[in-house]
């Protein structure tokens, strides 16, 4: 049982970190970023190249992933989303753009990094073993870092000026503008930050699960689900959603192990039922 809970927590931490970036972008711009998973993959490949191939320190590679994606995210916001949002009659149009960007990044990643699954040397080796629990040190470290990043992100949003500005922007764009918040700049910053989080988690997880070009789409969908569970556009919701999905998977796979084929069917059906009862997720805003 301890093992199942530990698995769930570890999974939850990484899921929550993935969901955070997505929910941030959604909250700020009402854009459902289909390309989030692809950004994650790109982050993974940057770390793979720098740490796995060029043997730079892992921390450096991780930082490089974050920065690369932040820059890319900023460019995408500035030159694509901003234009389309301004000119489109409906904000849903950005979904087509986001899908286009997702496909484009998919194609680009495949051309640049090839079709193979890539991995890097372990960042720390060894396994922590007790009677009921087995946990490799690198997973402990990555889980710890994920929680650390989540905490840093929350603190940043809560107690710094840019964090407050972004929260204000998410809650009332016009009012934020009247407070003197340069909304276009902070939209860009928010998008870049969302992309940065994707890159960061991609770089972090390459140490455990490696990375391959095609995994972006499925990751995006999984991230959407976490965001929905918690409530779209709410930071605490994304974190809760991540941990809940992680726990559901861990517990579900364990409990339903003898009915293996239906584990995910049960999880998904439960998710649909849950959302039917709570149409805005756990802590969602009514306008979702």
């Amino acid at each position: 049982m301890e093992q199942v809970v530990a698995n769930g927590l570890y999974l939850g931490a990484q899921y929550a970190l993935i969901a955070l970036g997505l929910t941030l972008i959604f909250a700020l711009m009402n854009v459902l970023n289909f390309a989030h998973g692809q950004m994650y993959v790109l982050g993974g490949f940057v770390t793979y190249e720098l740490y796995g191939q060029m043997h730079l320190p892992f921390v450096v590679a991780l930082a490089a992933s974050a920065v690369t994606l932040a820059v890319l995210g900023g460019l995408i916001e500035r030159f694509l989303f901003r234009t389309v949002i301004r000119r489109s009659k409906r904000e849903e149009s950005t979904m087509l753009l986001a899908a286009g960007v997702a496909y484009f990044l998919d194609a680009l990643i495949l051309l640049l990094f090839g079709e193979k699954q890539r991995g890097v040397p372990k960042i720390v080796s060894g396994v922590w073993v007790s009677d009921n629990l087995i946990m490799p040190y690198d997973r402990i470290l990555v889980g710890f870092l994920a929680v650390l990043f989540i905490a840093a992100f929350i603190l940043m949003m809560r107690y710094t000026k840019p964090g407050r500005a972004m929260r204000a922007l998410a809650q009332d764009r016009v009012a934020a503008q009247l407070m003197g918040v340069p909304v276009e700049f902070y939209s860009l910053v928010g998008f870049a930050l969302g992309a940065l989080l994707a890159g960061l988690v991609g770089g972090l997880l390459v140490a455990i699960t490696g990375v391959n070009a095609g995994i972006g789409g499925p990751i995006s969908i999984k991230a959407f689900m976490m965001v929905m569970i918690g409530g779209a556009g709410v930071i605490s919701g994304a974190i809760a959603g991540g941990f809940i999905l992680g726990m559901l998977e861990s517990v579900g796979l364990s409990v339903l192990h003898s009915y293996g084929d239906v584990t995910y069917l049960v999880i998904f059906a439960a998710l649909m039922a849950f959302l039917s009862v709570r149409p805005n997720g756990l802590m969602g805003k009514p306008w979702g």
Partner: protein
């Protein structure tokens, strides 16, 4: 626009689809286009359904679920119960419509991205069900489906068995575009009747609509079930063309594509999904010689289109029409 002009357009369209295209294909011997265009027609039908859910203000990423369901219903009836394909076609649609009533009643209370995500999950649920249920033959799929047989009425053969066609895909082409024409005509009539106005009222403001006595949940479910009916029909014909249906025949990617077709064509236009499907599906095929750069170019063009025409392809129109022709409303209330 006058009735005669509308009629003329209709005649031109029907002529183009049923005469000009086959003649062109005959002249150029590009018989592979029969399949491509059949696909476009069938996917356009399913996309048309998605468009209708957009019309009541719901982002639907679950049409793949109904297309898959339709394919399976038709295949199961044909293989296990020996029912004629032609009978299974409306039954597949009806089954999907019925299923969508049960599914829609709870989930249509959701809005915005929540509805979108639940429908996306629905696609996955149906795929997993197809894998898990015994009647669907699970992972092995339903294969070796017989091609559609003849339709006879009082001993008179109206449609010969598809086996007898030299160019089977030509027969499927006529079937697909005929069904597409019927579906879009029905959709057009729906949108331009009072029922369509009621749907717009829903799209714009459900609370206000219910305060004036509209049975909002029932109308939502009605639109959703018509939408799913379209999905089921499209899926059933696809199963017949491929003579097989697998849990992966329609996936999340298809659901997303149906939605993108609507966006690309333009949500304000009944025929938007038709055009969107044509461009997106055909575009991929046209780019096949680009080899490994296919996806890169495809997505690049998609992004460019979005930048130039963020409101859909049909939003370009001659200036003098702009005033008189108002796109069917789509604004957030």
């Amino acid at each position: 626009m006058s009735t005669s002009a509308r009629l003329a357009t209709l005649v031109i369209f029907v002529f183009a689809v049923f005469v000009a295209v086959p003649v062109l294909i005959g002249l150029t011997h590009r018989t592979d286009f029969y399949y491509t265009l059949s696909s476009v027609a069938l996917l356009a039908i399913a996309s048309g359904g998605v468009w209708l859910t957009f019309y009541i203000g719901r982002i639907n990423i679950g049409q793949g679920a109904y297309a898959l369901m339709g394919g399976y219903v038709s295949a199961i009836l044909v293989v296990r119960y020996g029912v004629s394909f032609w009978i299974t076609l409306p039954l597949a649609g009806a089954f999907c419509a019925a299923a969508s009533v049960l599914i829609g009643l709870p989930i249509l209370r959701l809005r915005g991205v929540y509805f979108a995500m639940v429908t996306l999950v629905l696609t996955e649920v149906v795929r997993l069900l197809a894998l898990a249920l015994p009647i669907t033959n699970g992972a092995k799929g339903m294969v070796s489906l017989p091609p559609p047989g003849p339709i006879s009425l009082f001993g008179l053969t109206l449609v010969p068995s598809f086996d007898t066609f030299a160019e089977r895909n030509e027969a499927f082409y006529y079937l697909s575009v005929a069904v597409m024409c019927v579906c879009f005509a029905a959709l057009y009539r729906l949108v331009h009747s009072r029922v369509g106005r009621l749907f717009v009222a829903l799209q714009q403001n459900e609370e206000l609509a219910s305060s004036m006595g509209l049975n909002v949940p029932a109308l939502r479910v009605l639109a959703y079930s018509i939408s799913s009916f379209f999905g089921g029909i499209g899926g059933a014909i696809f199963a017949a063309i491929a003579q097989s249906v697998y849990p992966s025949s329609f996936t999340v990617a298809d659901s997303v594509n149906f939605m993108l077709n609507c966006f690309l064509g333009g949500l304000g236009f009944v025929f938007g999904p038709m055009l969107g499907t044509l461009v997106l599906y055909f575009g991929w095929d046209l780019l096949f010689q680009a080899g490994q750069y296919q996806l890169l170019i495809y997505s690049g063009v998609m992004i460019a289109l979005m930048l130039v025409l963020p409101n859909g392809l049909l939003s370009i129109r001659p200036l003098n029409f702009r005033k008189r022709v108002r796109p069917l409303i789509w604004r957030r209330s």
